[in-house]
Symmetry: none
Subunit: 219 residues, 2 copies
DNA sequence: CTACATGTGTCAAAGATGTCACAGAGGGCG
DNA sequence: CGCCCTCTGTGACATCTTTGACACATGTAG
């Protein structure tokens, strides 16, 4: 289930957001100040953060700074209406912003939009002639369905969500297997080979020596 | 260079956007109605589309429908201020929207934000005709990919992050090798030579006698 | 000219990854 | 319950790649 963290000091607004999101089927947790927010962020596992800029203890701007390298999508909530502040928020790495007072429908639309953009929401992933649909867990290549095992599918989804990026072996392994990567076996390589073969992607799933693998356009 | 397509029927606004974007260093082309826009889209190669929703010939909504499968980021421009319409635009797959009238700074912030999100604007490092992308760990020289080994890549990244600075041998070695520099072997020199050769940078990676190396513009 | 510093080419060892066959786990089904 | 099937992980082995060392050439400063 999608995990959303709301960092907002006004309990009335926080509660309103929480119940609205829960009604839509998201898992939602609230933090009422910057410090509490930072602690919640530490624990990890968030798909999206709704962040009020005006907070006690630690300011929203500082949290934004801290969030950016974590690559968690952020929607900034702000009471300020000046264009300057909106720009500042966007430049600082927010994925979207919302000005108080806002309508609940608008909140939901932005949440959905950001989640879709960041690929957390069932959205089909495309790469060359391959289409991967996370919701139905199917993969098509040129209108032909490719049957993948669970591990193969997860691995491919991860690669396709990070097209072009060189993903480390440990990141790949730990994301798919949910256990520490010690690198003593050929397990990961094996699954990569099976994927390559099934998709005919010998040149698309590239080896990055001493790092890991990468999805790359064929020359 | 980043290619932006502006589909906007009001010539005054189109021109304003075009000159603003060009001043920022983007390549920008305008289409003045839906049909012209569709033709431009056909030809491909766009990194971002700015799309006015109210267009003659073919409506912006139809173009949006057509754009979505192409996976080109879109910023919708709209004169409408009702929340309902903004929601409709976002739900239809726009990456962001902008309400007229807008400030040019806001336009630029959104363009930058969307480009960054879609990965067109990575924190790539440039030097002369060479582009290094840390995320994908690739290096391009004049659209040609240069294959580097891990050590070579790390070394080049370090040099490119410190352009013009003379970096000491011990700093270079210890940063890349993560161990003390004793300087008894030709290891570092060797890797520098290999980099020079692969990049054709015999005069760009300069030797600073008794110090180390430096990335410098060729005379 | 001398004393070092750096450039260059070659090479083999160390280490990474590809490949394959196989076996155990687990699930579905008669 | 036993059979058959698929999915996964393992280990042995084959194949690259990388990289550091060495020997020797060339360059630089004083």
């Amino acid at each position: 289930m999608i995990q959303i963290l709301v960092i907002e000091d006004d309990p009335a607004i926080a509660h309103l957001i929480e119940s609205t999101l829960k009604k839509e089927g998201y898992a939602c947790t609230c933090a009422s100040d910057g410090k509490e927010g930072a602690d919640a962020l530490e624990s990890g596992g968030w798909d999206l953060v709704l962040l009020d800029l005006m907070l006690p203890e630690i300011s929203g701007y500082d949290l934004l700074e801290y969030l950016r390298p974590l690559r968690i999508p952020v929607i900034v909530i702000s009471a300020m209406t000046q264009v300057g502040d909106r720009i500042r928020g966007l430049r600082m790495g927010a994925d979207d912003y919302l000005c108080k007072p806002f309508q609940l429908g608008e909140l939901l639309a932005r949440v959905e939009s950001v989640l879709r953009r960041s690929g957390k929401l069932g959205q089909q992933l495309f790469w060359q002639d391959v289409v991967l649909d996370p919701e139905s867990r199917t993969v098509m290549k040129k209108d032909e369905e490719i049957e993948l095992t669970p591990k193969e599918f997860d691995l491919l989804e991860l690669l396709m969500r990070n097209r072009n990026a060189a993903l480390s072996r440990s990141y790949l392994y730990e994301s798919v297997w949910h256990e520490e990567y010690l690198g003593e076996t050929r397990t990961l390589d094996n699954h990569i080979q099976r994927l390559r073969k099934k998709l005919g992607w010998e040149n698309v799933i590239q080896t990055v020596f001493r790092i890991g693998y990468r999805l790359k356009m064929e020359k």
